[in-house]
């Protein structure tokens, strides 16, 4: 695996990371969060460019990428789990749309 970080966390507020290469469930990856390297076990297969949770999230919680909410969870998500259209929907835009 070498010492390279193969996932990216774009903003320090983010609660998801993006895979820079495909990973299989059960693999351990290194993630750099707020300047600190954390080891994390993946619970799902993560295709390249897809996201996984950096920490546990409750149902209805905001998924944060780019430091902003990109949607909300439709189920409880565990750290290391795939985060995508099966467990995230767009946030209702309220009266702004």
């Amino acid at each position: 695996m070498g010492g390279r970080i193969k996932v990216i966390v774009i903003n320090e507020k983010d609660n998801v990371a993006t895979a820079l290469e495909p990973f299989n469930a059960g693999m351990t990856v290194s993630v750099k969060v707020q300047g600190r390297i954390e080891k994390m076990k993946l619970l799902s297969d993560i295709p390249m460019g897809h996201k996984f949770a950096l920490r546990d999230m409750e149902e209805g919680e905001a998924v944060i990428k780019y430091g902003e909410p990109i949607g909300q969870t439709t189920a409880k998500i565990i750290r290391g789990e795939h985060v995508h259209i099966h467990n995230v929907v767009s946030e209702p835009r309220g009266g702004l749309g």
Binding site: H50, E68, H84, G94
Partner: protein, 385 residues
């Protein structure tokens, strides 16, 4: 921190020192091109409009040409009219004059044909060039820099590497009290409410949302529902989950600062910090709108590669795609693909970009400048009459 720029009589500061030749109408465009041809430091605008636009469109054309004329990257201006156009050279010159820079007018029908006009035009600009050469660069605070952002030919690397790195550079400029312009309204769709939350006032948030609604309605009237068609199946397969995520990947290139002002196309910002300009997503019209609003330098992110430049403002091209960087070396200034190899952080890439901004603002020539890319197209809303 400073860059080395040109101080103008109106106290504004330029990153370049051009003599600009403006055709007030498309009819004098060929003549203008011939006047500028072969003269280093002289730039002609390939303007094809100036007759046949009415109402708001006439205003947009005039505002854009004036915006280029008063631009601090321009030392002096020669306006060439044909003689019977609706947008007269005098009307444009009157708006540029308050900057204190030299503005000359020649009219083809008065001078008596193309050949005489070219000869007279060349004589005038050569004389101006001698004065322009006497001006030296001097230290200018970065707080006087207005930086434009743009993304074109995006791919999966744009939202993950190039845009976040440019965003980091933009935050560094805002920390120096500089100004960053974000634009391309159709590309906000889906994340406009998130940008609106960063607006300083509720009025500003409403201006932004109204601008998005205008473009969305236009697109729907033309048969395209941007919101329903995105993220596309290809985006989803690539890992994009929601439209917020897709649009944020684009918006993020301007950084994370609060929004200080929302301005119309081709308008100069009156605030420092992050400013939003309402422009189309069409690259050339967008770049021209930003330059007409005083942008002295542009950071342009691309995934697939892009050759565009502007007539008077340097454009720095940045890609997160290593293959594109190697394949499109003529057109690409910076490679930030190491972010995706885990070999460089977004913050460090942002710092490299910020340093490149200072170098280019101080005179370093960009790839688009080397290639002579002086692309120009004015945004308008209606048909020519």
């Amino acid at each position: 921190m400073n860059f080395e720029g040109y101080r103008r009589q109106d106290e504004k500061a330029g990153t370049r020192n051009y003599v600009l030749v403006i055709p007030s109408v498309g009819c004098s465009q060929g003549t203008v091109q011939a006047i500028a041809h072969g003269l280093k430091g002289v730039v002609d605008l390939p303007n094809m409009l100036g007759c046949g636009q009415v109402g708001e469109d006439r205003m947009l054309v005039k505002k854009t040409l004036v915006g280029f004329g008063i631009h601090p990257n321009v030392f002096a201006v020669l306006i060439v009219g044909n003689g019977c156009e609706q947008l007269s050279p005098e009307e444009i010159a009157k708006e540029i004059a308050p900057t204190g820079k030299r503005v000359e007018i020649i009219v083809i029908q008065e001078v008596g044909g193309t050949k005489k006009t070219i000869a007279l035009g060349k004589k005038i600009v050569k004389e101006i060039l001698q004065d322009a050469a006497k001006l030296n660069r001097e230290p200018i605070p970065l707080s006087e820099l207005i930086l434009g952002t743009e993304c074109g030919g995006s791919d999966y690397t744009s939202g993950l590497a190039a845009n976040p790195a440019v965003g980091a550079a933009c935050d560094m400029l805002v920390a120096e009290s500089g100004t960053v312009i974000l634009s391309e309204t159709p590309e906000l769709i889906g994340a406009e409410h998130l940008l609106a939350r960063r607006a300083r006032t509720p009025e500003m948030a409403k201006q932004l949302l109204d601008a998005v609604a205008w473009w969305e309605d236009k697109a729907i009237a033309a048969g395209q529902n941007i919101r329903e068609a995105n993220p596309s199946p290809g985006n989803i397969a690539g890992g994009i989950t929601t439209l917020e995520e897709k649009s944020l990947g684009c918006i993020y290139k301007a950084g994370t600062s609060p929004l200080e002002e929302v301005i119309p196309y081709a308008s100069y910002p009156t605030k420092k910090g992050l400013v939003y300009m309402d422009t189309p997503a069409s690259d050339i019209e967008q770049l021209v709108g930003m330059v007409a609003g005083g942008v002295q330098i542009v950071l342009f992110t691309t995934g697939r590669g892009n050759p565009l430049g502007t007539p008077i403002t340097p454009v720095i091209k940045i890609t997160g795609n290593r293959d594109t960087y190697l394949k499109m070396r003529d057109n690409t200034d910076m490679d930030v693909s190491k972010i995706l190899q885990g070999k460089e952080t977004v913050g460090l890439a942002g710092k490299r970009i910020f340093e490149e901004v200072i170098s280019v603002a101080s005179g370093k020539v960009t790839r688009a400048e080397k290639m002579g890319q002086r692309d120009f197209c004015i945004f308008k809303k209606n048909i020519n009459i």
